[in-house]
Symmetry: C2
Subunit: 168 residues, 2 copies
């Protein structure tokens, strides 16, 4: 009779698999689908993919969405403030903001109080763009929530993810 060891040692003619000697401690190797960081990355890419497809027509990237949303929530904030909230280096924020200004949806205003800083605002066209943007985003977000199973699952996920985000 064939022992378990024999079975483990047998080569698989179907898949042309290697002998067991080649991968002994395989059982202690983590399944990719159980590695938090890996599953996290795959999920993030998938959600961003949906986002990018959703905003293909408006040609808006996630970072730009976030910037416009933050400016709308609290107009007048400085570049550094917006950048820092999003974890974007202020050096890299410059080009991003240039783009939004070139599109005419946001603008820099030099404040008389501190002549170093620029306070950020939406333009009138930016306000119109905002409502379009939010409409597209709502559809996207609903699609994501549906994938999760509902609002309760969304809330649970957000809570768990919040525990992972460092203090930065």
């Amino acid at each position: 009779m064939m022992t378990l060891e024999d079975e483990a040692m047998a080569a698989d003619p179907e898949t042309g698999q290697r002998l067991a000697a080649d991968n002994e401690g395989v059982s202690q190797l983590p399944e990719m689908s159980s590695i938090v960081g890996y599953v996290l990355r795959r999920a993030q890419l998938s959600v961003f993919q949906d986002f990018i497809e959703s905003f293909a027509e408006l040609k808006l990237r996630p970072a730009e969405f976030s910037v416009l949303n933050l400016i709308a929530q609290r107009p007048g904030q400085k570049q550094s403030e917006i950048a820092e909230q999003l974890g974007i280096k202020r050096a890299n924020f410059v080009a991003l903001m240039d783009g939004l200004e070139r599109r005419g949806v946001a603008e820099r205003r030099k404040s008389p109080e501190d002549k170093r800083s620029h306070s950020l605002h939406l333009t009138a066209e930016g306000e119109r763009f905002l409502s379009e943007m939010l409409s597209v985003w709502n559809a996207h977000e609903q699609r994501i929530i549906q994938r999760l199973g509902g609002d309760a699952e969304r809330d649970k996920l957000i809570e768990l993810l919040g525990r992972l985000s460092g203090p930065d």
Copy 2:
């Protein structure tokens, strides 16, 4: 008496905040901390940050970890197969594999059956490296699980994240 509208209209001398006229529909704007994609990205960056710091000494990046782990689980797989499992374009996989080969931890073997493909294997040194790698990774993963609250929370998170990952 001051109405709610009045309060909403009042400028804040502390923060130098804009007038309410500047951001009327602010209540319909999503909080960044409630946007799945955003929270997901921040969490992923944080987990990867811990990973990168954990592997600073071994100079191993997440993608390289995944490749070595997959090769160890199933030696002999083709480059394309490993690349596809990880969502890495086969063109970009070449340089990654070059690096692992140059470090002497993995190797390409040309299979006699299909002279196009290369089957991937760990070297003897790669096997030694693997156990170091797993030791470092276990510490990292435990840290992440601890942040989440425990194994149950980890399992729940993995399940929810799995629902988000597209069919790719």
